[in-house]
């Protein structure tokens, strides 16, 4: 679980950094936001057993 969440956190930070560093490019910003949304939707759904399988 700890490892999985650490990967999630790293992926989110990576997507945020990508978007913020390219803040003049709306397409890259949109992609970063969508990537974050996809990751966060899974965490917010809270299906813990599915993450670990």
């Amino acid at each position: 679980m700890d490892e999985h969440l650490l990967e999630v956190v790293r992926a989110l930070h990576g997507a945020v950094k990508q978007g913020v560093s390219q803040s003049k490019d709306p397409k890259i910003m949109d992609k970063a936001i969508n990537d974050c949304k996809e990751i966060l939707d899974v965490i917010m759904a809270g299906k813990v057993q599915e993450w670990l399988n």
Binding site: M1, D2, L5, L6, V8, V9, L12, H13, A15, V16, G19, V20, S23, P26, M29, D30, A32, I33, C36, K37, L40, I43, M44, G46, K47, V48
Partner: protein
Amino acid sequence: MFTDKIELKDFDKMEPEYKELLGHVLAIQADCEIGGPHLYVEKMLPAAPTKLDQLIVARTAAEEIDHYRKVARVAGDLGVDVSFVLSQPNEKRFVDTFRGLITTWEDNAVFGFLIDRVGRYQLEEFYDCSYLPLQRILPDIVTEELGHIEYGYNKTAELIGKGDEGKAKAQKAVDYWYVKALDMFGHTGSKRSERYRYWGLKRRSNEQAREDYINEVNPILEKIGLKVPDPLKGRHYL
């Protein structure tokens, strides 16, 4: 009064009350960390006013998930499984403040400004606490919470700067969250709080921490032109 500092290896030797209190406070802390994102991600990630704000919502959620992870690891080392809080519905959160859904940007801003500040107070209770593994995870978590508080404050001030309508929205949000914030400190004269202090797990009484919070927040509210809400109206934990 217990004044020793203990490591994980010492935990088994501790009295049942210490084990119960430490496990309980870690479960609450883990629940509050993950409870934040569950309040605001669903509605605020798509609805934040700018793309940059959307990304900051995501970054804030990432940091809170990481705080959960760190607290869960400390709890897990003690044999306390707090993973159930990852999947429980908001209405079952330990703390009432986290039992809803944030649906407006002004609520999101004031949540950061006022409620993340309570989060900082809760974490500060563990400074110099008797359980060293808990103490060690604090600095990074508190640093990130300070960022959330500052962002919430800046966004609240930004709203106020937009004129009467923005100010009215900010005031309405403050009226709602201020009372929740004060309640988060718990009952005055709490016996459980006294036992936490006896075991060196917390520093201040509930009422002292609440008083410190009021003394910090009220001048800030007044400085940005907002009215300090009635501190008793709508309170559940006096």
